[in-house]
């Protein structure tokens, strides 16, 4: 089916800004396949149902809108105190000098471009594969574009319990950088890995992570998207979970002109667990979109979605979350909550929770709320001597607590709480309750 003219034009304009695909080998084949698929679907448009609340124009454009990098002052870089394997990307390009040696017990890591030269590679069955599967029932063209044109990325094979977390650090320097990163993570049966990500990466970032979580394996993911105000990002996390495996993913987003974080999770083996959580805080020009699609395809799996947003001075929050329970997925336990705390009347929260259930022995609950700070609670705290600003911060943190509790590591959770406190202290003076 031919694309509508507008979509065709948008795609041509975007492709004109990207290098032509060439080369041979498994990666080139995956890229070529992705380009063919992209040409059939076109780029997302504001009129697409899935992009109703978030305008994709700036993500589609041939060139990124310039974005200054942000100096966080004396705030310590995240995860600095942890023993970790650090991999640094500057404006979307791997920086070997700043990175650690790409090996640790239980983990093998390769740069995408190096792996491309191999005749046979384990990532052959993963790169673009989960992304392709994730195109149904909803199309995600920006992920397909990523598969075709990714400029860098790492392939992580976890064969046992990883000796330390892998930490991807995304530094943003250039005002016009446009990064397309694609990572693959494969966890063998019983393996486990904590993947940390932090930083804005570029003026514009398009990032895909595909994760294959083997039976009894466990994947923990904690992401901080930096503090840049002007950056734009679209990210996709595609994951397939085997029997009794676990995935936990938490994202902290503070600032950012535009963020669209998609998670597409497939529970394919029985007794698997997926927990997705996000805390987003925005002041002013901030548009943050969490779009989650969880498919229960096997018995007795559990999924949780906990997304909280604090919005002020015209910030916009979006949540689109879906739980699809297939007929085979009896004994499913699904939970979804999306909430916003709006600190003034100019901010906006748009939520679209969806449940689609074909099994009959299922427990699924969902809720979505938006509201202001509880004046009564605020007065109660003040009447006990807590100054108004501190009382507000305490209540905002309490609101975010359920999301932060999803972080399995207490030390990291506490660090994130402290960062949020700092953010609230810096932005709280504008709060009109």
């Amino acid at each position: 089916m031919a694309l509508p003219k507008a979509k065709e034009d948008a795609l041509s304009a975007r492709l004109a800004g990207l290098p032509a695909l060439s080369g041979k080998g498994w990666l080139a084949a995956a890229r070529a396949d992705a380009l063919t698929r992209l040409q059939a679907m076109g780029l997302p448009a504001k009129r697409d149902e899935y992009w109703r609340y978030t305008d994709p124009t700036s993500l589609n454009a041939a060139d990124p809108a310039p974005a200054k990098s942000f100096n966080p002052g004396d705030e310590a870089p995240p995860f600095d105190s942890l023993d970790r394997l650090k991999i640094v990307f500057v404006d979307g390009v791997f920086d070997p000098k700043a990175s650690d040696d790409l090996s640790a017990e239980g983990i093998r890591i390769e740069r995408l471009s190096d792996a491309a030269a191999a005749d046979i590679h384990w990532a052959q069955g993963l790169y673009g594969a989960l992304e392709t599967k994730g195109q149904s029932p909803v199309q995600r063209p920006l992920a397909t574009l990523n598969t075709a044109f990714a400029t860098d990325g790492v392939l992580i094979h976890v064969t046992a319990k990883a000796a330390k977390p892998v930490s991807l650090v995304y530094i943003h320097n250039s005002e016009t950088s446009d990064a397309i990163l694609h990572h693959c993570v494969k966890l063998d049966s019983g393996a486990s890995l904590t993947l940390l990500e932090n930083g804005p990466a570029a003026a514009r970032l398009n990032k895909v992570i595909e994760v294959d979580v083997g039976d009894d394996a466990s994947f923990h993911h904690i992401r901080l998207q930096g503090r840049d105000h002007e950056r734009r990002a679209v990210t996709h996390l595609f994951a397939r979970l085997g029997a009794r495996s676990e995935l936990r993913s938490f994202t902290l987003t503070a600032n950012g002109r535009l963020t669209r974080n998609e998670a597409v999770i497939d529970l394919t083996g029985p007794d698997a667990r997926a927990h997705l959580a996000g805390a987003a805080v925005g002041d002013g020009e901030f548009h943050h979109d969490d779009t989650v699609f969880i498919t229960h395809g096997a018995e007795a799996c559990e999924s949780r979605q906990v997304f909280k947003k604090v919005l002020m001075n015209g910030a916009v929050g979006v949540f689109q979350g879906k739980i699809l329970v297939k007929q085979s997925a009896q004994k499913t336990d699904g939970y979804q909550i999306s909430q916003s705390l709006m600190l003034d009347e100019d901010s906006q929260f748009l939520a679209k929770p969806e449940l689609e259930i074909y099994a009959d022995d299922v427990k699924c609950s969902h809720g979505s709320t938006s509201g202001a700070i509880d004046e009564t609670a605020l007065f109660y705290l003040q009447s006990r001597g807590v100054p108004r600003r501190a009382a507000q911060a305490l209540l905002v943190l309490a609101f975010l607590a359920e999301a932060i509790q999803e972080i399995a590591d207490d030390e990291i959770a506490e660090d994130i709480r402290v960062r949020l406190e700092g953010w609230l202290a810096r932005h709280g003076n504008k709060v009109r309750v």
């Binding site: 509880d374 609670a377 003040q382 009447s383 006990r384 001597g385």
Partner: protein, 251 residues
């Protein structure tokens, strides 16, 4: 200690006058009770003194040891030594009771320029005071008042009072929703705090609470004014005859 003069208060958002010239003077170490029919303005008085939004003071003053309360933020009134035990203690999901108590104690200390309490000292003190109020460790860990029974909430108010050591305590219908045993427990908690330097204003509908917390002075409030003041026997008179006689008598 507390001196209220000619206090007039209306609701901020509508033209409804609630207090029409309240005069009240409570000396150090005294326990005063205010009784009165529904809608007489008792709770409004407690809210206005503690600084809740939504009320407009149109005339009068309220001073604590000479300092004008009505111009202070609620937190400053607390730091100055005022405490209100709420009729309906507020639930705060996500904030642990212990964190709440410690934040409050240290915020007041900071405001007064005193050193903060260390975590260890604080813990010891809370446990000690909680024990006498039969508040278990579990209740201290839970979010503030969330899932607490009526009695637990009121005991938690008294625990806060014990920890914050205010000079002027206002108890707004602390007996409401309590069974006899729970009321006794709360009253014992209050009595344990009675001292020469600490005064109480006990707002209640019923004489029953005053059997346990013995007042020095009893005031009857009606239609936004204190219409009669007497000793403890006044409370008994209300208990036996209701408010009608007193209201008629005053005219």
């Amino acid at each position: 200690m507390l001196e209220i003069k000619n206090l007039h208060v209306k609701l901020e958002e509508e033209d409804k006058v609630i207090l029409r010239g309240v005069d009240l003077k409570i000396g150090a170490g005294e326990v005063h009770a205010i009784m009165g029919p529904n809608g007489s303005g008792k709770s409004t008085l407690s809210y206005v003194l503690s600084g809740r939004d939504g009320y407009e003071v149109t005339a009068g003053s309220a001073t604590l040891d000479g300092a004008e309360l009505l111009e202070m933020e609620p937190e400053a009134r607390a730091a100055a030594g005022l405490f209100l035990a709420f009729q309906y203690p507020v639930e705060i999901p996500g904030v642990g009771n212990m964190t709440f108590l410690r934040t409050a104690v240290n915020a007041q200390k900071k405001a007064r320029g005193e050193p903060e309490v260390t975590a260890a000292d604080f813990l010891k003190l809370v446990r000690e005071k909680a024990k006498t109020l039969k508040i278990d460790a579990e209740m201290l860990k839970r979010p503030v008042n969330v899932g607490f029974s009526g009695g637990e909430k009121k005991r938690n108010e008294i625990l806060q009072m014990a920890m914050l050591e205010p000079r002027m305590c206002i108890l707004d219908e602390t007996d409401s929703g309590l069974d006899v045993d729970a009321m006794k427990l709360v009253a014992d908690g209050v009595n344990a705090l009675r001292s020469e330097g600490r005064s109480f204003l006990v707002i209640t509908h019923y004489q029953r609470l005053l059997d346990h917390i013995k007042p020095d002075v009893v005031h009857i409030m009606a239609a936004g004014r204190i219409i009669k003041t007497g000793g403890p026997e006044l409370a008994l008179e209300v208990e036996n005859n209701g408010y009608a006689d007193i209201l008629n008598e005053v005219g």
